[in-house]
């Protein structure tokens, strides 16, 4: 049977504040274990939390960018559960009065725009990290706790169950990530755990209003695993329903290696978090004037930037969409254009050579060895006819590894294009003389034969002959 897929996502993102949410400890990732800690984040007896104002500001920013209503009065609550990475054995979070509610985000999937509603955004503290002695939890006989991450500020962004496919889930997650990056409130590095995602998935027969029984999938730590995890879970639930079975409400974990979801705990085993208002913090009262100020100072967001790239630079919606889906790529584009690069050419190079090289090395544009300035200098050499497009690709390759400027490479390797017509004419004439058969074929109407002749000319000049001139001069002499 064909079912409607219903998905809601919970996205957790670490905020890139300098200090933790309730104390002054650094949030730096990768520090030596248990060095970014103090009595407050270690939850020692007698300590009290103090809210980091920056966290509230970042949360309001995210709320506004995701079209939420900012609640003028919100508060923190304690979520009680025992786990050794949680020193107080409760997580200070927000329960019934989160900082932002009732938002939405429009995404594009297969050329269609779709609105995903956002239930709420709340602030909370991250937990520490367990380091097990063995390769797996079950094979370990002890575990150590690293509390560096304890108290790093998190935002949890909860969507309505409006998502209908794994592609939509991925598109939504990518767009939320892009917005958070544009706001500069989070690094959104899934590989470092600064962006994490849980998915609630259920199926129902088309046309049925009531939701089916859902399973919550945890441990979806990359875009790929979000998509694969959801796809797997949908098939698992379809199989159960097709066989007349019932889906069990439970929490499942995604196993990236095995490519399956597995049960973690059932509804009966679910925690009773016994929320209570955090008595050590006062309610957060956000001044509407402050919200207005933050709103007025929001940076340009992906949709607006895409529109600007289309309007100002004549890029296609598709190209503009790809370039603006990452703030860093869009910044690279803007910097290149500011360096007098032709927008369309820059866009083609970004989506072509640059992207190809980044992907093959598995790095982001932030680590690109060729700077926007260097790229535009390379493109200027093509524009001026000093090198051909083809040579430019070879030069780019060389720039990537040597980090030298394009002009230096062109000079060192003698790659300057031959645009001297007398030099080209001599070569054209020698090639015509040496290939009478091709000349005859061309004259007999075989247009393709000219390609062979051009190839011979390029071979003799090692690709340096100006292709336009070669074409013109060759046709003149035939």
């Amino acid at each position: 049977m064909d079912y409607e897929i219903v998905i809601g996502l919970e996205i957790h993102t670490e905020l890139k504040t300098n200090s933790k949410i309730f104390c002054g400890c650094s949030t730096k990732f990768g520090s030596e274990q248990n060095t970014n800690v103090c009595p407050v984040c270690l939850g020692l007896p007698g300590v009290l939390p103090v809210i980091n104002e920056k966290v509230v500001e970042f949360a309001v920013k995210a709320g506004l960018a995701l079209n939420c209503e900012i609640l003028p009065f919100s508060k923190f609550d304690r979520k009680n559960y025992y786990y050794p990475d949680l020193p107080k054995n409760f997580q200070t979070s927000q329960y019934d009065l989160p900082i932002a509610v009732n938002g939405h985000l429009d995404i594009e999937v297969n050329g269609e725009t779709k609105r995903i509603n956002i239930t709420r955004i709340h602030m909370e503290e991250d937990a520490g990290k367990l380091v097990h002695s063995g390769a797996t939890i079950s094979s370990s006989d002890s575990a150590l706790v690293d509390y560096n991450r304890t108290g790093v500020p998190l935002l949890e962004i909860v969507s309505e169950p409006d998502i209908r496919s794994a592609e939509e889930a991925r598109a939504y997650l990518e767009k939320v990530k892009a917005i958070l990056e544009y706001l500069d409130v989070s690094d959104c590095k899934m590989e470092e755990g600064s962006l994490r995602c849980d998915a609630n998935i259920s199926l129902r027969p088309h046309g049925q209003a009531a939701l089916g029984t859902k399973a919550e999938i945890k441990n979806l730590n990359s875009f790929r695993s979000v998509q694969r995890g959801i796809e797997y879970e949908v098939i698992r639930q379809e199989d159960i329903l097709d066989e007349g079975g019932r889906v069990i409400q439970e929490t499942r974990t995604w196993d990236e290696n095995k490519g399956i979801t597995a049960s973690m705990r059932s509804k009966e085993q679910a925690h009773d978090y016994r929320y209570l208002p955090e008595p050590d913090l006062v309610p957060i009262v956000v001044d509407p004037a402050r919200v207005a100020e933050i709103r007025a100072n929001l940076p340009e967001l992906p949709d607006a930037r895409r529109q600007r790239l289309m309007n100002d630079h004549g890029l296609s919606e598709y190209d503009a969409g790809i370039i603006t889906s990452s703030k860093a790529v869009a910044d690279y584009f803007d910097q290149s254009v500011q360096n007098n690069g032709d927008a369309k050419v820059v866009a083609n190079w970004l989506m072509g050579e640059v992207s190809k090289h980044l992907n093959s090395e598995g790095i982001t544009i932030l680590d690109c060895p060729v700077s926007p300035k260097q790229l535009t200098e390379l493109l200027a050499l093509i524009e001026k006819g000093i090198i051909s497009n083809k040579i430019a690709k070879a030069v780019f390759e060389e720039m990537w590894t040597s980090r030298k400027d394009a002009e230096v490479i062109v000079k060192e390797k003698g790659l300057v294009q031959i645009s001297d017509s007398s030099e080209i004419v001599a070569i054209v004439e020698s090639v015509i003389a040496a290939n009478p058969q091709s000349v005859a074929d061309f004259k007999a109407g075989k247009d393709k034969a000219i390609g062979f002749l051009v190839g011979q000319i390029m071979k003799q000049t090692k690709g340096r002959a100006n292709p336009d001139m070669v074409n013109t001069l060759l046709r003149e002499r035939l």
């Binding site: 007896p45 007698g46 304690r78 009680n80 050794p84 054995n89 409760f90 016994r274 008595p279």
Partner: protein, 487 residues
């Protein structure tokens, strides 16, 4: 008169007049501890060496002609739930028996800045849960007025130390009466400030929305002096009040002409000792004679306050005490796995009353019971608060007994938690509404001290200090000193 029988303000005069040295005074108090603490058992940890070093530093300052504060060189005690850097802070619990905080509570820092001498860490009911100090995980404290009776609690060690001359002043903490009730039982002065007046940073939490640190002293004057030092906004405590601190000694005025006193009839509960009731009535008459106006008022939600408290405080406690799990500090009992370790650690190291309240609180917050218990209790708390708001529209202060009876015998109520809880019936509504209150001696029944509670408006410490001071100046109750069988 022995040095340890004086008040801090008297001793301060002697020190700055160079009549005595701080070291001399500290030795006198340490000597007193040596001779009587085996009977009173007020201290969990003694800090004699650092106390002498602190006293020596004060003497050096005085020799150099530097000005010193009123508590400089005056030996005092801290309740053992106030964190002290490098000094064990146990909360009278086996689970923290070896816990040495790496930081000072804000009040400890403030006292150190004033050169106060700390004699030791005072006994208490485990995690401040109790009204007799019999719930200490180590040993009970005895009331210096009659060693067979309890000193009250939970700040029983602090109150007994001050009453026995083992400290000139002390700090306690008050969640439902834990400063005022032991002060009443031990015949000393105990003040619970307005919630937020004194920083809670470094006070090991029992019930965060109710806990407040305050002074236990020999007289109202010393109470005002200690309040001057410990009060004030603290950036480390978001719930501390960000307004200036008045000089409380300016309220040490023997004049209450025109003061409007309210007597809430609901506080005179069944089971109240007739002698206690008589003493309060006599005190009211005297205050009226001194120029106060008096009227009986009604605070209709008083009877629900105790029940609400025993939902809210345990609920917060169940969460606050979750961190004692054996993982990164405190007592640990090894187990087969992490859950087993939690269970064994907490089963072994928490006492019965702490376990009782953790279970009560866990239950009150559980899904399906939350609305009926915890949420309902919060609503009652609001009603109790409104009772106070309305009362203070009519009067300046409220006067009630501090506790329905005088100190009871050790062991008398240990098997009857409800009877024990009833001892806090007059003090608990004050914590629920966050207002300040002071307990002062107002008489004796069968040789045991009776306490009178004066309750003020939010941040109305000055008014209750003035009323208490006036009463004190016209009576001698505070001048009596527990004999400790030394007759």
């Amino acid at each position: 008169m022995e040095l340890f029988k004086h008040t801090a303000s008297q001793l301060h005069e002697k020190i700055i007049e160079k009549e005595i040295s701080a070291v001399e005074l500290t030795k006198a108090v340490l000597g007193r501890v040596d001779s009587v603490d085996k009977d009173v058992q007020a201290y969990i940890t003694r800090t004699s060496e650092t106390a002498l070093a602190q006293a020596q530093a004060v003497d050096s300052k005085i020799q150099r002609g530097e000005k010193v504060s009123v508590l400089a060189g005056i030996p005092g005690a801290l309740k053992d739930n106030i964190c002290t850097k490098g000094i064990k802070t146990t909360c009278a619990s086996k689970i923290l028996a070896t816990f040495v905080p790496p930081y000072d509570a804000t009040v400890a820092e403030k006292l150190a800045a004033e050169d106060a001498v700390i004699v030791g860490k005072a006994n208490m009911d485990e995690f401040a849960m109790g009204g007799s100090t019999e719930n200490s995980g180590f040993f009970p404290t005895h009331n210096p007025w009659n060693l067979e009776t309890v000193p009250g609690g939970s700040s029983g060690g602090s109150a007994a130390a001050v009453a026995a001359g083992e400290a000139i002043w002390a700090l306690g903490s008050d969640t439902g009466g834990s400063i005022r009730q032991p002060a009443a039982y031990c015949g000393v002065v105990g003040l619970k400030p307005t919630y937020g007046r004194v920083s809670r940073y470094g006070l090991v939490a029992y019930a965060s929305s109710l806990d407040q640190i305050g002074p236990i002293t020999r007289d109202v004057t010393d109470s005002a002096h200690v309040m001057n030092i410990i009060s004030g906004y603290d950036a480390k405590d978001s719930t501390s009040i960000n307004t200036g601190v008045p000089d409380y000694t300016k309220s040490l005025v023997n004049n209450i002409k025109g003061l409007k006193i309210g007597l809430p009839k609901e506080y005179f509960v069944a089971g109240m000792d007739t002698e206690v009731e008589r003493a309060i009535n006599k005190a009211i008459e005297q205050l009226v004679a001194l120029g106060a106006e008096y009227k009986e008022i009604s605070m209709p939600h008083t009877e629900y306050a105790l029940s609400a408290y025993y939902m809210i405080a345990p609920a917060e406690a169940s969460s606050n005490l979750a961190r004692y799990d054996g993982v990164s500090f405190g007592h640990r009992v090894e187990g087969n796995d992490i859950i087993d370790m939690y269970k064994k650690t907490r089963s072994e190291a928490f006492g019965a009353e702490v376990k009782r309240r953790i279970m009560l609180g866990t239950y009150a917050l559980s899904s399906g019971y939350y609305d009926a218990y915890y949420l309902k209790a919060l609503k009652v708390r609001t009603l109790v608060k409104q009772d106070f708001d309305k009362a203070f529209e009519q009067v300046d202060v409220l006067i009630t007994p501090t506790a329905p009876t005088t100190a009871f015998k050790l062991g008398e109520k240990t098997n009857d938690p409800l009877a024990m809880y009833l001892q806090d019936v007059c003090t608990i509504p004050v914590n629920l509404s966050g207002v300040p209150a002071i307990s002062i001696p107002c008489g004796f029944a069968a040789g045991m001290p009776i306490g009178m509670q004066i309750i003020g408006k939010p941040l109305g410490e000055e008014t209750i200090i003035r009323a208490a001071y006036t009463f004190e100046q016209n009576n001698d109750y505070h001048k009596g000193f527990a004999t400790l069988g030394e007759v």
